[in-house]
Symmetry: D2
Subunit: 296 residues, 4 copies
């Protein structure tokens, strides 16, 4: 079992840290929110007084923060993890952030003699709670081998996407498609219903034909078609529209950085931006159907 410093105890980070404790690791935590730390103490983690303390004297540091700005803040500079971690510590950033920040922090870690991976996840809060997350990992193969033991306590699908930053790259390419398919499937299903088709019949046809996609299959936004879909529980998430918008925008940032045209990705991003403005960012991402039905 390993000694792990865990930083960032939000909706995702808290259950992830708990699963590391459950898996038998010695976990010390830090978060600016003291209440979140109290919860962590209750499930068996050790409270640290600072980011620096949490990062010191452990074999692994795992971070889970909102954006690239926070990742840079917690890793870089004289107060950062890289300046305070003990030699040989493996650094794992599970935040979903822009590729550029991931590569910048990865390069800084390497320059300081650390092995680091970007290890963003998919699977949402439920995946975090059930330890069924997918980890998309960017960094060296040897680091991936070391990280497996730890990540395996929090998820069940561990993928080595490539070099530093490419865990993030894989995640945003995948999630851009997921966001597009959510919006497009809502359009197709509402169009079909408006033309007079029984949504269940249409669902059956599309999911066995060339229009099939994961979003439609598991999150069909028409009531009564897929019983477990969020539309049947007033769009209680699941995967929040706000997070889908965040990921779609990360994809647009990556498209800008690489000069890649993404007309469909941009159109989906704008739909989520409108949904957000209309006040529905906290609903499940399948609520994008509201822009198609006008039920805003």
């Amino acid at each position: 079992m390993a000694k792990i410093g865990f930083i960032g105890l939000g909706n995702m980070g808290s259950p992830m840290a708990r699963n590391l404790v459950k898996a038998g690791h010695a976990v010390q935590v830090f978060d600016l929110n003291d209440e979140a730390m109290s919860v962590a103490v209750q499930f068996g983690a050790k409270r640290c007084a600072s980011l620096q303390e949490a990062a010191k004297g452990v074999e692994f540091v795992v971070t889970m923060v909102p954006t690239g700005k926070e990742t840079r803040a917690v890793y870089l500079g004289p107060d950062g993890i890289i300046a305070h971690a003990s030699p040989g510590t493996v650094l794992l950033d599970s935040s979903t952030i822009d590729v550029e920040s991931a590569q910048a922090v990865g390069a800084a870690a390497k320059a300081a003699g650390f092995e680091m991976m970007d290890t963003p996840v998919s699977g949402g809060v439920i995946g975090a709670e059930n330890a069924t997350l997918t980890f998309m990992c960017g960094g060296e193969a040897k680091t991936f081998e070391k990280a497996k033991a730890i990540l395996g306590g929090m998820g069940k699908n561990l993928v080595h996407a490539g070099a530093s930053g490419l865990g993030q790259a894989a995640k945003i390419c995948n999630n851009m498609l997921a966001g597009i398919c959510a919006a497009a499937s809502a359009e197709a299903m509402v169009l079909g219903r408006n033309l007079g088709l029984d949504p269940k019949v249409l669902y059956g046809i599309i999911t066995t034909s060339s229009g099939n996609n994961f979003s439609l299959q598991y999150s069909c936004a028409i009531p009564g078609v897929v019983p477990t879909a969020a539309v049947n529980r007033d769009f209680k998430p699941g995967f929040k529209a706000a997070l889908m918008l965040k990921d779609l925008r990360l994809a647009q940032d990556a498209a800008k950085a690489t000069g890649t045209p993404t007309a469909i990705g941009a159109a989906a991003t704008q739909m989520y931006a409108m949904l957000d403005r209309a006040g529905h960012a906290e609903l499940d991402s399948s609520a994008i159907v509201k822009l198609v039905t006008g039920d805003l």
Copy 2:
């Protein structure tokens, strides 16, 4: 075995008629192209001198023409099938056309005492040749039961989508999604490659994650990822970009007719319109990747 009048011997119609002959039916054909009729005679069909002759004295009429305009032309008016078919003939239009025309012709047939279904197909020329087409059928249940025997000679997946016109409706909803996913998947794969990801690794990640879709899975537009994909044979179709554009535009027509917003569908339509203008309509629909790479 049945007596069938088959009208429209194009790329799709010709192999469909041949499979009806193979299945043991007595097939009489008509097409304005005399050469196409000669081919049909060779595979065992009977040549008719006119549309009207082909439609007379048979149990089923099957039509396969390019657009709603031609469907209206061959069925309606004093020279049309409805005016010349023998009482009790079942009329099956396998053309892919707008819902409005399908319903107008269906209503005219019904008013004249005929059972009629719109029975558009998916599966392309290969499906037509191998008798593996999917038929999406719109009309009454009793007509669907009668049509099955005939359609089963040309395809293997027969779906009753609902009332008259809803075969077309189901097809265009499905194909709108297929067109969107083709364009979106090209964007995601090129974006990933530009970020430094190995396309095979990225393909493996997405096809097991929330971005998965049929277009990516079977028609990935990056060379060397899916061996059977059109990108590996210079985009020789498969399903032509011109047909994808046609179907996307039918979806836009249906969206207009029903007042359904389809922002993503419209964006995909425009990409195919640009690909068409750039001279690539005869390539496989996965050639939409050219707008993303700039290889035009």
Copy 3:
């Protein structure tokens, strides 16, 4: 002064007919709505019992109906204007319709020996009331010369756009741009305000720079910038969003018919389709800003 048959007394047609009376013409009218005819009698027009009666024995017929379907219905067939008008009558259709219908009806009129023009208008209800409409005319030059005397009583800007159908073509090209600029200007002004700019200052900068456009200049959708703009009267129209959507869709139809890519036109069309679904079609077209602010 001329004898005129006027068909279609809606929001636009009624004040147009009244201005023809005011200009000294003898105007006989027909509309399916009897109340609209009573109003017309009060301003000095003669009530006719039928479309056919209104079209007979006059020098000019002017029609003002909602869509190409109605234009075809009132002109074509055994009960239509072409079958009942007296020889030598000049036919003017001021409806805003699709180019294809305009050309089909124009061709039928010509085949029957009539001169006909499509003469769609811009300027809205206020322009109709004040006789300040712009007429975009499609047909022969000699017909345009004859039409001028009549149209001059209803508008002040008479343009000969070209051959039959090209009046409609010019209108939808113009209105597509107007719709795009309305949506885009809303985006730019809200973006600027969100960045902290004073909307009046930003308006002053853009209207004297390369972003200037008619929609922004006269219909700026931020309150308090342009006093006469609809935003300052709860979006009371002006030019209804429903009509903007109609015109944008006519442009999309024309784009389809000619194979012209219009990615920006399609994106604007979809925004108006979403505004419509959200229940705001009866507001002024500048209410498109609601999708940008989220105030839906």
Copy 4:
């Protein structure tokens, strides 16, 4: 007359510095490109050995660099302008950059006791050469008053857009509209031509109607309509497509930062991204018409 340090002698910076010399100011320059400095010496500027030397002992520093990254690099840190400029120096950054960087650098300058303005320009290389640029200025009113004397030597339209960063904000809002109108006007004109309209007639109609906009009026992308337009000289710029794409992407960054939906802005951005990929970034921005005609 003033002592001025000028940093960044590219296509824009070089003629701007020359106009400052012409206006009688004492100008000392620095650029990493030695050849550019030799040119500056020929028109009367003084060569400096370093950025720091150029920024020292002057009343004004003017910078003209490509992106926010370079602006941060030349102003911030121990080697930056803020660390080396003499007390009381007024700092003017004429680069077109993201609002966030402009505000960050502005705040750093203020914290160090300097007055600073973001003063991005419009008018292109021709405006720079002829001293007819427009300057959109963000900073305090008293700084704007001081800056006027200097900026007046390089341009003729000086606008105070508001506080720090709002010069950039105004520019990108304006240029987003300009980019949209360029693409949309190309669509409208090609659509009209494809419908059979004479482009000159259509141009005449739109420029006097509700579709009018600056891009169409001065840069109509159909040959032979506006003699001075870039289309008539093989799209020799003018304002390069690459710069239009840069500005559209800055607008998308600002939209992201403020949570503003910009569906039309995003669609135009993607068209320019496709034009760039197709190899036409160095042409005039009106070359966006190539995506509409397919002449790629």
